[in-house]
Symmetry: C2
């Protein structure tokens, strides 16, 4: 593992606790060989034996006994170097890094394919929901007509609180920052960048073509007022930050799709309207299956750890589908 923060600690804890269970189900005993961290003596929410720690990520990636590299540092700098170095050695990589995938996914999946290595990213979108696997495998016989999702827990928490308390955006944001539901610098979430990364990944996956983030319309929630929320409520709607991939037409074997992130009115009777607080919910409509809906925690230590922990070294057929994202 590279990264021993909140999510890294969650992954360590989950594997420490359930390794035998996972082995009984998959035939593979996961063992964490080494964890690269910023500093050996940082305070951690989950205790990790010092003998596993190193401050040099190359000690993880270059260790010949390491078969799978889990990248959990975030950002698009070191994280990219780590992933490229691992893939170039033919090692499987697991990442939760949606910003990196959205901006450099085309490069990363190309390198993965060239080196016959697998790149897994279940935790990058809606961490606690096995959504990537469901789109890639469970619903594989469907042409996707619409994917609409509440994929940013911070925004959804703020909008839910604004409706419940009748408070304005700034007031609720401050409360969310105090409670740890929003970052000190909240722009990544409230301006829609995070949801934008995630919906770009889902669009790329569903249509097997690279969707460049700069072509995707993005609008956040920072200009939403208490009056907006109340008016929507009176009209029978909930206001949610929704990421949407919509199939527009198909001509000469080419699919035209519209991808966007924006505050959206959802009828109170639709199941997406019942997704409140920090939870995520994604509706997927396929031409064969009609509408399916997935719900769960989108982020946080354990939800992301659950998604990260699903991958094991002899995981099959992943290279093909993943590498072509």
């Amino acid at each position: 593992m590279v990264g021993g923060g909140t999510v890294g600690g969650g992954v360590y804890q989950a594997i420490d606790r359930n390794a035998l269970l996972i082995a009984s189900r998959t035939g593979v005993l996961l063992k964490i060989k080494r964890i690269a961290v910023k500093a050996l003596d940082e305070p951690r929410s989950v205790e990790i034996p010092v003998s596993l720690l190193t401050t040099d990520w190359k000690e993880v990636v270059n260790d010949p006994e390491v078969q799978v590299v889990v990248e959990l540092v975030g950002g698009t700098g070191v994280a990219r170097e780590v992933i490229l170095a691992a893939l170039e050695q033919g090692k499987s990589v697991v990442t939760a890094n949606k910003a990196l995938l959205a901006s450099h996914g085309e490069e990363l999946f190309k390198v993965a394919q060239e080196n016959d290595a697998a790149l897994f990213y279940e935790a990058s979108v809606a961490g606690g929901i096995p959504l990537i696997r469901s789109i890639r495998e469970g619903l594989v016989c469907n042409r996707f007509l619409n994917i609409s999702g509440i994929v940013n827990g911070t925004c959804n928490y703020i909008l839910t609180q604004m409706e419940a308390l009748g408070h304005g955006f700034e007031e609720v944001l401050k409360e969310a920052q105090t409670n740890g539901y929003a970052e000190a610098n909240p722009a990544l979430d409230v301006e829609g960048h995070d949801a934008h990364h995630k919906i770009s990944i889902l669009a790329s996956l569903a249509y097997n073509a690279w969707v460049a983030p700069e072509k995707v319309y993005r609008e956040g929630i920072s200009s939403i007022t208490g009056l907006d929320i109340q008016t929507c409520k009176e009209w029978g709607y909930k206001l949610k930050l929704l990421g949407t991939v919509k199939h527009i037409s198909r001509e000469a074997d080419v699919d035209h799709i519209q991808v966007r992130v924006a505050p959206t009115l959802i009828p109170q009777t639709h199941i997406l309207a019942s997704v409140d607080g920090v939870f995520n919910g994604v509706s997927v409509r396929g031409d064969v299956v009609d509408e399916t809906f997935f719900y769960g925690r989108g982020a946080g230590q354990d939800a992301t750890a659950s998604a990260t922990g699903t991958t094991h070294p002899n995981e099959p057929d992943s290279t093909g589908c993943c590498a072509s994202l």
Copy 2:
């Protein structure tokens, strides 16, 4: 394929329409070689070329070019013979037959394992939801604490209509039979047998041990009155037929679980309460991921076809997990 009825027609149509799409995603081009039906000249909702039809299921199972046998006849007689004959030849089998799996699953998975063949059953529970795959793979690093599901669309439709219209059970049942949402003999659904089969399958899968259906408590909805529904509503609940697998305790590496099907009060604020009409919804709580929730069509031509169509001959790692259910 063995069986050319409603679901069989749906599978044929889905593969006919999306075979190239599926091939582009999986690398496998599905081709339907032969379909065994009761009579060649039966009326069908989906047109199937007569050249594909036969009335002898052995012509399907014994054809050396057939690699995967899809069993869609239902029941526990011929269906069992078909599946055993295919597995004994080492052929993969796909089935939507929950009654057969619940009653003979132990035998079928044993034969599958002995012959190194795979037995897939995604469509047997909550057809339109990739639930089996999510429990087996997507949530594999979780110990399951609770699985609670609305898994019978007929019962859910009846209870939804009773609440919406204020009518009694008998009246709504008749209307459901007229609309095709309930069978002429409704006992399999309304007495909870169908949900009972499904929750037994989910319990067996989640705990990797055979859960004998006769040990599972079962209660249907036929004695529910309009007054019951109204009283629940006034108290802030919805009444749903719920299948539940509940982890009770773990002692000396042995899990004690409670499995049951019964009308259950659900707080109106819980997401399961928003599952209305013929839809299915299943909440899965894991020790790592916390609560996740899956929603979609449970039955019908297309939803079941979507689940059935997900499996392809070189589907990986399935034998191990499946064979031990």
